[in-house]
Amino acid sequence: MTTALFYILGFTMLAATLLCITRRNPVHAVIYLVAGLFALALMFYLLGAPLVAAWQVIVYAGAIMVLFLFIIMMLGLAPQEVPEGPGWQRWGPLVLLSSSIMICTVLLILQDPLAGKQIGDFYLAPQILGEALFSRYALAVEIVSFQLLFATIGAYMLGRPLPKGEDQ
């Protein structure tokens, strides 16, 4: 049951992401990405990470994607199509790079160098995760909080009104 769910969620996630990256309209792309992130959150839950799954839904699918949607709608990008995509000449290197990496991934799955390495039943209670986060990894939490503070200051600096004459 767990295994079947894992594969269904995995292919749902890949399909939603594929639809996301091929959209021309940014709003559609973000909506598909939210669907993919929900599938990923359920995969986290299956892999025994309920707290990470909850935060994936709250922070990623909730806050970050809404921020994207907010910017798209504030700038009025939704009805406007992206200028015509790159021609076949420009697609060549892209297709070559992506397909070679993808073929390597498929070959690795078929060859299966990790044969028999199964992820057993695992469930990490949020309490244990929180204790680790604030004891062994307290320094990392402090550094990340500093980074969030710097990001706030940086966003404020970038959001200041432009000097006169530089705004078109």
């Binding site: 993919g36 707290l51 921020l67 700038l75 995509g85 790079l97 990340v144």
Partner: protein, 100 residues
């Protein structure tokens, strides 16, 4: 029971899709979305490894990665708004000058 290799394969495929999105699009917002997809692939590797080795560390790093991503998105979207105000366009090719 989930094969560890297949969890890694899903994460790798997600990363490649994100890379494709970065290379395919010329609009800055779509490039940012591609970066988001790649970061999600990375966090799937962290969580799967955490479940495989039955350690807490991978999940801690997945959460830290989420916080780092939130910071990155805040600055990057502020930059998107700044670039839009400068040139009224978000096509990455338009921003090719370095004059202050």
């Amino acid at each position: 029971m989930i094969p560890f290799g297949h969890a890694l394969a899903f994460a790798g495929a997600l990363f490649v899709l994100g890379l494709t999105c970065v290379l395919l699009h010329r609009q800055i917002l779509m490039i940012l979305i591609g970066v988001e997809i790649m970061l999600n692939g990375a966090s799937l590797v962290f969580v799967a490894a955490s479940a495989y080795w039955r350690q807490v560390d991978g999940q801690v790093f997945a959460i830290l990665l989420m916080a780092v991503t939130a910071a990155e998105v805040a600055v990057a979207l502020a930059m998107v708004v700044y670039l839009w105000r400068r040139k009224r366009t978000l096509v990455a090719d338009e921003f090719n000058g370095m004059h202050g």
